[in-house]
Subunit: 343 residues, 2 copies
Amino acid sequence: MASVPRRRPTIADVAALAGVSKGAVSRALNGGAGISAPTIARIQAAAAELDWVPNSAARAVSGAASQAVGLVLRRNPELLEADPFFPAFIAGVEQVLSAAGQSAVIRFVSEAGAEHDAYRRLFSERRVDGFLVTDLRHHDPRFEWLRALEAPAVVAGTPPRTCTLPSVGTGSADQVRELLRHLIDAGHRTIAHVSGPPSLRHARRRIDLWRQTLEEAGLEPGPLADGEFTSEGSVRATRELLEAPNRPTAIFYASDVMAIAGMSAIAEAGLSVPDDVAVAGFDGIALSNYVVPSLTTVHCDYQLMGRRATQMLLTLVRGEEVPHISTPVGAQLVVRRSTTRTP
Amino acid sequence: MASVPRRRPTIADVAALAGVSKGAVSRALNGGAGISAPTIARIQAAAAELDWVPNSAARAVSGAASQAVGLVLRRNPELLEADPFFPAFIAGVEQVLSAAGQSAVIRFVSEAGAEHDAYRRLFSERRVDGFLVTDLRHHDPRFEWLRALEAPAVVAGTPPRTCTLPSVGTGSADQVRELLRHLIDAGHRTIAHVSGPPSLRHARRRIDLWRQTLEEAGLEPGPLADGEFTSEGSVRATRELLEAPNRPTAIFYASDVMAIAGMSAIAEAGLSVPDDVAVAGFDGIALSNYVVPSLTTVHCDYQLMGRRATQMLLTLVRGEEVPHISTPVGAQLVVRRSTTRTP
């Protein structure tokens, strides 16, 4: 455009073109406090015409903070609905971000190419200062991607030993073992497991813990079925287990949602909980205490996990160090009526 | 720095300093496809040293799209855990954003000053192209703020007539009336309501619908108690109702989570559902079909609401028009055992 000066435009050029003071331009670009909407629009138009770069955008390439953390999720957004981890984790993340005046940038992707691209773009365009990594998978390529990007990142979960990123886990393995021993001590000899999809690292870990603990006690692991972390999947899996030749007297579900849905399938089969089939879940959702019979579960504080992971990430973003493996947030075995036989 | 040229740096300066082609700089700043991580790091260092502004940041002040939509939530992040609306709504939002290659920027704030500031900054710093507005309140100031900012915005919910922003609601009023008439037809004469906090517009609307429908049927509205949209609040409210002089024979809960928790309080009082007290919820969460007895509820498709609202917002951001009030997503009365007396 002919009207644009060839030298790099200054805030004074923008103020002159918009017919306002330099202070007004600055305030308009910093939230607009005390500036009317039409004036803000005039200043924005002047800035656009001159191609003027205010500090906030200049900072975006000079390396200053974006005041936002990224969460790239490669999963079907529909799974959010049935997932007790995500809302609680995000609540913890937002508690820390809110206090720091920062935002979460959430991006869903459907395949690995888009996933890699999302990490690179969000970071290289300085839309985020770093990432929280959740939903760990087997042979997860993200540890290497993030190392290569040199992006600050914190893993929420228990990554393999080869992962060089700092992490914070629930540390719930002891409580899962304790839960299974509680069932064994109550006399159960055929203990089944309704798992999540084994491609997810935490689903696989619960399968391994179930199998190991039973084998250590000299028991044959009972039947195993994939409940896909959904109510429908669990009903299907539970029916399958109840029709198996070695019908279980106890079922450990990898999530409370699956356990509650499973209890309805058990009732439908004319069996009672806990007298015919004892039932235990995992997660410790609020409703687990309010179903009838109340549900034995392992309670994990995903909110605390979200807070810890975010605090660690903001520390990394400030250029400070964090421990490679943070103290696990801790889990708690909660024994309720669904595994306590009436005497 | 002495090494920085005084004229505005160009992409050629960055390429020369990094020892790569101009094409490599461009690709590195646009996702980095085909560029090694060390090369990307070298290019980023060169860009930072020269204070070079690539197109993506220049666009941030010239008015092009941020490829992100904002969601500013003024509520305690802890409430996310018990809220069936948010995960489903976000799932719908992300389905549309994912297909469009865009992100959601989520910001939690604790009071009105921070809330107003968050809308202004996210928009004026071009971190988002527009906003989705949820959690409508009485005398909500956001309609006016967003109008003044001239920010594209879509309301998820049913705003007052004075709101000039386009909106998409559930349109569940008919189904709530139908649910209450179903209870009246079954012979109930004292129908109580456990509500959400009346400061929330949708909680207030359910209270009004409950009162109006009973009055239209010539019935005195039964006792009312605030269950705060939480399990604990509902147990407290339910105990209160069961001890009231006019003990209800049916309770309409403003959410399924409160209804499920309420059923456990009814069982604890030695009463049975539905024979002593019929119970109905609202939301239609997956678990409502899997509690025993299964829960009568009004199912709302919050995921569809998220998709619609986001599609409308992206249309507005492109500068096109949308209808002021979109067709409601629709709700469905689901009658199950919790309100069906055994004959």
